[in-house]
């Protein structure tokens, strides 16, 4: 069998991490091949190797049977491998035609740019994608969907054989997605090989012929999509050993707390257009509620709504039965919430401030500018949490950016524990931290719940969710599709729920 693109035994290591190990990937002419995997599975690493960003790597990449060693994206593009990224590599303030021909502009005599030819060629290549627009208009005057097609057209100008589309549908609406898909089908008929990365399962099933699944930097397998059931796909992505691993860990599963007459916090019909479909939720004291779902399923967006980071378009949130105003995190904090965001570095820590200052910051913000905690009080609070959460730092005056990921996470948790906390929201609190610190943080969460705190725990790792939570809300395609509690909250059930989805949802983008 002749392959258009064949990557054999690909591996690469970064300082301290084995990012990819012995991965094979084969792309045929005229096929759409999905690359699937969870966050951190190695999809982007593989794409970056194929498109010449990362070098050197182990293994070989064969393009049309010839070994290729592209050392830059430009070289890869010349060789025939073009990538269209999620963040488009186009210049918004140049015209469509200029964007298409930037760097490859045809010249007339005296090194003058042949504008006539550029405009004609631009229209021609866009018509191949069923796109009739004024190519002299500025690129950013068109929608993201059109810009995406322009990026694809630019790839075609390089006579691409291999087209890599990295999350092309994440910001498109339903109609734009189906238009993109018809373009993809057209290119497929022309004999191109298309690598398609998405986290929308329905879209993957709609358009792809084959799928290669990666997990933890390793190849799980190549599948024919027509013969691949959803549950098998999700198992391949999430891993089946999780259930086995779970049995080894000696975490005692906690009983479901007897539900109280009024929950601590109640969310009704909370909606944000384009981010989360309406959902209901309730939080109880002493209970850990989990959010499970794949990347982009809406779980983080829902958490941001509850904490007031993004405003509610519709719906309400009640604390102790009373509706609360939620126009900023400040309101949520005043009501007793705390939030450890997914991106610790850019949204959580204040890097240049000391551990002490980071810990007392939320409490101080709640007390206001003039009610300053004295230095002695600050040091007391900091010392208390440094020892009770065993935060590893030489002293409280260390800048928090110098701490390891796990310890930074503890500092953020300490920040909330120091204020009048009633509901703690943790978005991927254990991502990117080592195994020992992970277990420590999980234990900490359970202890806090035992002390009466309500906890919202969001994680991509299903075994972690099932281990720590009494109740699990399952998310897919930006909606809450189910809730499992007690003994039903098992990894298999969650995977099945995600796979089944909601009948009418059909993977639409809201």
């Amino acid at each position: 069998m002749d392959y258009l693109l064949e990557a054999l035994g690909i591996g690469i290591s970064f300082p301290g991490v084995r990012a990819l190990g012995r991965v094979d990937f084969r792309l045929r002419r005229g096929e759409i091949h999905a690359l699937m995997g969870q966050n951190g599975a190695g999809k982007s690493t593989l794409l970056k190797i194929l498109s010449g960003v990362y070098r050197p790597y182990e293994g070989r990449v064969l393009l049309r049977g010839q070994e290729t060693r592209a050392s830059s994206p430009t070289e890869a593009q010349r060789a025939g491998i073009s990538t269209v990224h999620q963040e488009l590599n186009l210049i918004p303030t140049l015209s469509v035609a200029e964007n298409l021909f930037l760097g490859i502009q045809p010249l007339r005599a005296m090194r003058q740019i042949d504008w006539k030819k550029i405009h004609k060629e631009a229209e021609k290549v866009l018509s191949r994608l069923n796109l009739k627009i004024d190519v002299s208009e500025q690129l950013n005057s068109y929608s993201v969907a059109v810009q995406q097609l322009v990026a694809i057209a630019r790839a075609l100008l390089f006579s691409a054989d291999v087209l890599i589309l990295d999350e092309p549908t994440s910001s498109l609406d339903k109609e734009e997605v189906s238009n993109l898909f018809s373009v993809m089908r057209g290119l497929k008929a022309d004999g191109l090989g298309i690598v398609f990365v998405t986290h929308f399962l329905d879209q993957m099933y709609e358009i792809s012929d084959r799928a290669t699944v990666l997990r933890n930097g390793e190849l799980v397998g190549e599948f024919e999509v027509a013969k691949l059931s959803r549950i098998d796909l999700i198992t391949a992505m999430v891993g089946e050993e999780v259930s086995a691993r779970r049995a080894e860990e000696k975490f005692e599963r906690r009983r479901v707390a007897a539900s109280e007459p009024t929950p601590l916090l109640e969310v009704r019909e909370a909606t944000r257009f384009g981010a989360v479909a309406p959902f209901d939720l309730s939080f109880n004291r002493g209970e850990v509620l989990g959010f499970a779902g794949l990347l982009g399923s809406g779980r983080s967006e829902a958490a941001r709504l509850i904490f007031g980071v993004d405003g509610l378009d519709r719906g309400e949130v009640r604390m102790d039965g009373h509706v609360i105003k939620l126009s900023s995190p400040h309101d949520a904090i005043a009501a007793g919430m705390g939030f450890c965001p997914e991106d610790r570095k850019t949204e959580g820590i204040i890097g240049a401030l000391s551990v002490r200052e980071n810990i007392i910051l939320a409490l101080q913000a709640n007390r206001g500018i003039f009610n300053r905690l004295s230095r002695a009080e600050q040091e007391n609070i900091a010392e208390r949490f440094i020892s009770s959460l065993s935060i590893k730092t030489p002293n409280g005056e260390q800048a928090v950016r110098n701490l390891s990921g796990g310890n930074q996470q503890k500092v953020i948790i300490a920040r909330w524990l120091a204020s009048n906390l009633r509901l703690l929201i943790l978005d991927e609190p254990t991502r990117g931290i080592d195994v020992a610190a992970k277990t420590e943080i999980q234990k900490l969460i359970l202890t806090l719940a035992d002390e009466g705190l309500a906890v919202l725990f969001i994680s991509s790792e299903l075994d972690e969710v099932t281990r720590c939570c009494q109740r699990v809300a399952v998310w897919r395609d930006r909606r809450k599709i189910g809730e499992l509690s007690g003994d039903d909250a098992r990894v298999e059930n969650i995977m099945e729920t995600i796979a089944r989805g909601r009948e009418e949802s059909g993977g639409e983008n809201i």
């Binding site: 204040i350 913000a365 007390r367």
Partner: protein, 335 residues
């Protein structure tokens, strides 16, 4: 005491302090009568007193600018606010009103100007450079309109006390800037304001997540910078007993930025050092005085200033220091 010394050595304006000391040492050795302080009619006179007195406007501006820069912003409009405040004060001073009636309206106008800057930056989300550039250009126009294109002269002894007055032998302006500095220090370090300003400057997103209202903090620092500029405007106007809308406070915004940066506050925002900004302002004025005392032509002073600034910036840059260190090691290895 030992801890205090250690803190100074570790502070980001340590090298500026060293440079200032070196500048003084140079002058004491080579500039005639530099260190001499005379007493006439119970007032102190001399080069050093002169340097202190002349650096008052830069210190005032630098105090406000330090807080603005700490939030990751910049205020280019302070020079223009000086002109506006000066024009209003001069017009009122001609009317022979009470001191307070001359002083309060300009300060109020300066606060309104700062409020406008703060609104553009914090609420409208315009980049600070552009937002304050608007007033930098239009402010001087407003001042000229107020003055009717003329230099407005006045004579009002009570008002002139701002620059001509002496208290316990020292110029009144020194007490003014010391008072402002002290109250800002108290306001930022004895309340949580300083912490919030630094937090917003370092990471605005994370600050919002802990419940700090970044827009309120930003609004506040621009208003404050405006008021500081208003005060500097009053001092400068009384010095020449007139409002010169075209020239008063010209390019002073850049001196204020320079003083702040020499003082160790980073242009990217974050930790700020009020004492450092004072050192920066003193360096700028001492340098000017030194160059003039050495008989260098006035236009050349700017060139000399530029070299000194490059020098201090390089010494303070951690990456430059690391590079020099590496080159030194490479040299050793070769030898």
């Amino acid at each position: 005491m030992k801890k205090f010394a250690l803190n100074i050595i570790r502070s980001p304006y340590f090298w500026s302090l060293v440079f200032l000391a070196a500048l003084f040492a140079f002058n004491l050795a080579f500039t005639e009568r530099f260190g001499v302080v005379e007493v006439k009619d119970g007032r102190l006179y001399g080069n050093i007193i002169d340097i202190l007195r002349r650096s008052v406007p830069t210190m005032l501006l630098g105090t406000g600018m330090t807080l603005v820069i700490a939030t990751g912003g910049i205020d280019l409009s302070v020079g223009a606010i000086i002109a506006v405040a000066g024009a209003i004060a001069a017009l009122l001073a001609r009317g022979n009103f009470h001191f307070m009636i001359i002083v309060l309206p300009p300060l109020l106008a300066a606060a309104v100007a700062g409020c406008w800057n703060g609104f553009l930056v914090a609420k409208a989300g315009i980049q600070p450079f552009v937002a304050t550039l608007i007033l930098m250009v239009s402010g001087r126009g407003v001042a000229q309109l107020l003055c009717g294109g003329q230099i407005i002269k006045f004579s009002h002894p009570a008002f002139e006390y701002l620059s001509a007055g002496y208290v316990f032998g020292l110029p009144f302006g020194l007490y003014l800037s010391a008072g402002v500095l002290l109250s800002v220090w108290l306001l930022t370090r004895r309340t949580a304001l300083g912490l919030f300003i630094e937090s917003v400057g370092i990471n605005p997103v994370a600050s919002r997540h802990v419940g700090i209202s970044a827009s309120r903090i930003k609004l506040l620092v621009y208003v404050f910078s405006g008021i500081c500029a208003g005060m500097a405007g009053l001092v400068l106007t009384t010095e020449i007993r007139g409002a010169d809308a075209n020239n008063v406070g010209l390019n002073l915004e850049l001196d204020a930025v320079l003083a702040t940066v020499l003082g160790g506050t980073s242009m990217t925002g974050g930790k700020f050092y009020l004492a450092g900004s004072v050192v920066g302002a003193l360096i700028i004025q001492t340098l000017t005085t030194t160059i003039l005392a050495r008989g260098v032509a006035r236009p050349a002073t700017l060139v000399v200033k530029a070299f000194v600034v490059i020098l201090i910036s390089l010494i303070q840059s951690p990456s430059f220091r690391a590079q020099v260190l590496r080159m030194g090691k490479a040299g050793e290895a070769r030898a």
